[in-house]
């Protein structure tokens, strides 16, 4: 056995009057230095953005609320909203088909997702825009049998319809996977418990599975939706003038203003994406009911609480 060193420095206990004092926490001066350095870089970037004449902020101000830009913006919103709704509905149907026990439905759903995830959106849109070359009439009737109504493909498929159709078909393929991932994330025991209680089949899904799946679906679908919002800019190749289309055409007729015009488009996209993010935040909170022991306060609630406590302190 090795002997422990016996000659240790005598431990001096701090005097008793120290016991009533608070311990001074360790200071972190390098955190302050790092923070200051990053702020300097940011300030430089902001300064360059504001003072560089290339950005032509007066032109930016001129274009930002121009009726032609606002019209494009509204068209972007319409395209996004319609494609999001149709895409999500299609996605739910495709996801349920994929999860069904019917092998035909499963295979068709898989095939749809495979095809539409493989075709680039821009190709799909051009393809649909030129669909008149393939089918001159579309008819509604008995499959392979007589038809009741016939449309000329040219009348029915306006550029707007083509754009919504293309975006929705594409969106549905991705939404199907998002919805499916949400549904399979719900514990198998939930369906079993619902079945053991004798809940009707539709109710098992509507009341038990989908609300829980939604919690997992929201972040992924919000991502998808933001992608769609910006993805609508692709439709300008079918000569539909949404936000990006407007910016692009105006830039070609007003030479030298491409940078401020692109900034107008960018800032509007940032505003729309921010709005979607806020909606996402509140939806996530709503569907976290029961999943978290306590739901954290919103930034707004925290801000108000801080104001109130400050008021009390004063």
């Amino acid at each position: 056995m090795t002997s422990l060193p016996t000659a240790r420095a005598p431990v001096t206990e701090p005097p008793d009057d120290l016991l009533s004092q608070k311990v001074v926490p360790l200071r972190h001066p390098w955190r302050w230095v790092a923070g200051a350095a990053v702020l300097v870089v940011l300030a430089q970037a902001a300064h360059a953005l504001i003072t560089n004449p290339v950005f032509q902020w007066d032109a930016f101000g001129y274009w930002f609320f121009r009726p032609v830009v606002i019209e494009g913006l509204l068209l972007t919103l319409q395209l996004t909203a319609l494609s999001a709704v149709f895409g999500l509905l299609g996605g739910i149907v495709l996801a349920l088909m994929r999860l069904s026990r019917n092998p035909v439905l499963r295979a068709v759903s898989w095939g749809y997702t495979w095809i539409f995830r493989s075709i680039p959106l821009i190709v799909l849109l051009l393809f649909l825009a030129n669909v008149t070359a393939l089918y001159s009439t579309l008819s509604l009737g008995i499959p392979f049998g007589p038809s009741f109504v016939e449309f000329s493909a040219n009348d029915l498929l306006s550029f707007f319809v083509v754009a919504v159709l293309g975006l929705s078909l594409n969106e549905a393929a991705y939404a199907a996977e998002v919805v499916r991932s949400g549904i399979i994330s719900v514990d198998q025991g939930q369906l079993e418990a619902a079945a053991a209680l004798g809940l009707p089949k539709g109710r098992q899904y509507r009341r038990i599975i989908l609300p829980q799946a939604t919690r997992a679906i929201i972040p992924a679908y919000a991502n998808q939706l933001i992608g769609l919002l910006k993805g609508t800019s692709v439709v300008y190749i079918t000569s539909l003038l949404e936000l990006f289309g407007v910016v692009q055409t105006q830039a070609s007729t007003n030479s030298g203003q491409i940078i401020p015009l692109l900034m107008v488009g960018t800032v509007w996209y940032v505003i729309l994406t921010s709005a979607l993010s806020v909606v996402q935040y509140y939806l996530e909170r709503r569907f976290s009911r029961g999943a978290l022991r306590t739901v954290p306060a919103t930034p707004l609630q925290r801000f108000r609480a801080r104001l109130r406590s400050a008021g009390v302190a004063r």
Binding site: D187, G189, Q190, E192, A193, A194, A195, A196, L197, G198, L199, P200, K201, R203, R207, I208, P211, Q212, R215, F287, R289, G290, A291, L292, R293
Partner: protein, 253 residues
């Protein structure tokens, strides 16, 4: 005595693995039947077959004389429609090892859901009854909480109240205390004991041999998909006739 549950010639295989091998047994009305046996002996499968959560390959189950999950059609057993099976299940209470409460619904909503959705009980009536049941299992003050805010023992008591809300003729328990901390087992067993005293017909798959000895009227010992022996607890648990039973009991007690 009337037979509450009658299982005849039950056979079930998963691939080449026969999990139920010609099971025959009867559970009497108003009595507690305990099913014991090692893991993988088929006890959970047997219990799940009684409310057709698991379909048998052959053989049948009847509850109070009613065939479960199947009907006789031209001399053969034919599976019932999903809707008919769901209706039968709503008369049989099932309590899971892992509770399976609905986490997004409050405790009250968990208990109210099945009577309203499966039995068309008016909402107010269902809520009144749910509050009574939750009070009975000692959770009157938790009606507005969510499942994840409760302890395991409390969750399992909610699950029992949820099963009772359907006023079942039969209650099935699948290892109701196996997922609980040892100190929480007692509160759940106490609820089961109360139900037994009140004359509820129950089949309990359990590892709690002490509980089986004290509360059960009939004990079934299952091994490798077969019933090795069954009888009153004083015989099966105290003086088992088979070596396999003796060996199992020596390990768990």
């Amino acid at each position: 005595m009337t037979a509450a549950v009658s299982v005849r010639g039950a056979i079930k295989s998963y691939g080449h693995n026969r999990v139920l091998d010609n099971i025959d047994f009867t559970a009497e009305s108003g009595r507690v039947t305990a099913v014991i046996g090692p893991s993988g002996s088929g006890k959970s499968t047997l219990l799940r077959a009684i409310n057709h959560l698991e379909a048998l390959d052959s053989g049948f189950v009847s509850v109070y004389g009613e065939l479960i999950g199947v009907r006789v059609h031209r001399g053969r057993l034919k599976e019932l429609s999903e809707r008919a099976i769901l209706r039968q299940r709503s008369r049989i209470g099932f309590v899971f090892q892992s509770f399976n409460l609905f986490p997004h619904l409050s405790i009250l909503e968990n208990v109210v859901e099945a009577p309203v959705a499966a039995r068309q009980v008016p909402r107010l009536e269902a809520e009144t009854r749910a509050r009574e049941l939750l009070a009975k299992v000692g959770l009157a003050d938790k009606v507005d909480a969510y499942p994840r805010q409760l302890s395991g023992g409390q969750q399992q008591r909610v699950a029992i109240a949820r099963a009772l809300a359907l006023q079942p003729r039969l209650l099935l328990f699948d290892e109701p205390t196996s997922a609980l901390d040892p100190e929480l087992v007692g509160e759940v067993l106490a609820v089961l004991r109360d139900l037994a005293t009140a004359g509820t017909t129950m089949i309990v798959v359990t590892h709690e041999i002490g509980f089986a000895r004290e509360v059960a009227d009939h004990v079934v010992f299952l091994d490798a998909g077969r019933i090795v022996e069954q009888g009153p607890p004083a015989e099966v648990l105290v003086n088992p006739t088979h070596d396999r039973t003796r060996e199992f009991l020596s390990k768990v007690v």
